[in-house]
Symmetry: C2
Subunit: 243 residues, 2 copies
Amino acid sequence: MLMQKSHAFEHAETTNETVLAGQSLSSLFFASVAESYPAGKAICREGDEAKHLFQIVEGVVRLHRIIGDGRRVITAFHFAGDLIGASLPSDFLFTAEAVTDCKIRRVSRKSFHDDVARSDTLHPAYISLLCHEMTAAHEQMVLLSKKNAEERLCSFILKLASRSSPLSAQGLLRVPMNRQDIADHLGLTIETVSRTITKLASRKIVIPEGRHDLQIVNLARLAQLSGDADDFSEKSCHRVSLH
Amino acid sequence: MLMQKSHAFEHAETTNETVLAGQSLSSLFFASVAESYPAGKAICREGDEAKHLFQIVEGVVRLHRIIGDGRRVITAFHFAGDLIGASLPSDFLFTAEAVTDCKIRRVSRKSFHDDVARSDTLHPAYISLLCHEMTAAHEQMVLLSKKNAEERLCSFILKLASRSSPLSAQGLLRVPMNRQDIADHLGLTIETVSRTITKLASRKIVIPEGRHDLQIVNLARLAQLSGDADDFSEKSCHRVSLH
DNA sequence: CGTTAACTTGACTTCGTTCAAGCGGAGTGG
DNA sequence: CCACTCCGCTTGAACGAAGTCAAGTTAACG
């Protein structure tokens, strides 16, 4: 029941550096036994003392914060191979919950840091991991700050696709989280997420297959619409340098 | 002209840990000579190879990214004592520009990391710094994701106030950046920033004195309006735990 | 004291939210 | 196997907060 095949590092494209970082750091988790979390179960809670770090062996996890009244912000989703809690000084800044059924390994924060400090390979791997998380946070700020609903959705779908295994067969993308999770991650409402997907579908850019799968028809168009201007084709180059 | 009084660590309230972190890491910059940057000048540019880390001796710096067409996101402001570029793997993820005239020290990335790795006190300080940056990034995501214009402005003013020296005399807060900078940091337009400040002024919560100073009249109210629910007074506690 | 850039204010538009109703598929029980 | 129910999602219509466009106003600087 636990330990299974451990297909922990099959995410497709991130930087070499990052993949290496993940791999070497995971060695610290091999000794631990993977625990099962059913979908919806909390792994750790915002404000709890961060005694442990977690590694996802299997499944998808969401990290969220809740402010004031019920407003929820999902700061990140994490997938098989990812560590949770690496960038925490003392307390958890977020609640982590299983989106799907998960298998998760756990090590104590202290032993993790001791091991990292002791090793010449683990240490840069750890730094690299933190920097990568920082990069993701910046991307998310840009998304939340300047992108409209369509750009947000396209960015999200692209990021999901880039993490998934080779887009299983002919471009069918698994979307493990529900609409509310997506909305809370993109700073939108569930209705806007739904409408935007419908709009993308009507334009034959993606085709929804049930609630949790997307046929990606036009990846290039998706990239254009994400607002990241990876190509400088269209009206992309009007930056007015004021100094 | 360089080196002056070096009032580098006068920010008021962050965690002890963080202040210590800043202090010990700054020892690495003492050997360098402080260079002057006039307001508006770029310190480093997004995409450049990150050969150096910077420490602000004096002045205020903005970090920004530009996406697609001219849309600019200011991911953070930094003040005297802060390091710039600590959370970067290889390339700069942002452009850093002087908001006010600045004095800045610079060390090579390599020597910085060598020194940090070599020292038992510097290393945790560095980790702590990264974690603190991550926390700030999370806060910003929450702000951009769920707060309205008024909450954003109040949060911003509060954060500024908490960084400033003891709120110079009777609550007069220096706001070094212009309206456009504030707008680009809060994910608003310049007009909305202006209107919102006017509204806060009409309610006697702050009183603007010129373009770059704010008399803070009602700090408590400001905190309430920031939407962070530090107090659980009003309608704050309706979180529906679904599991 | 005059010029100019930065800021404020007003009128109108827009995109996303809100509120409300309808749809559909997975699970349950007859 | 079908009918029923429930929940997650979609769709529609009305609303509203912030954006846009266009004047004014202010204050910073020479």
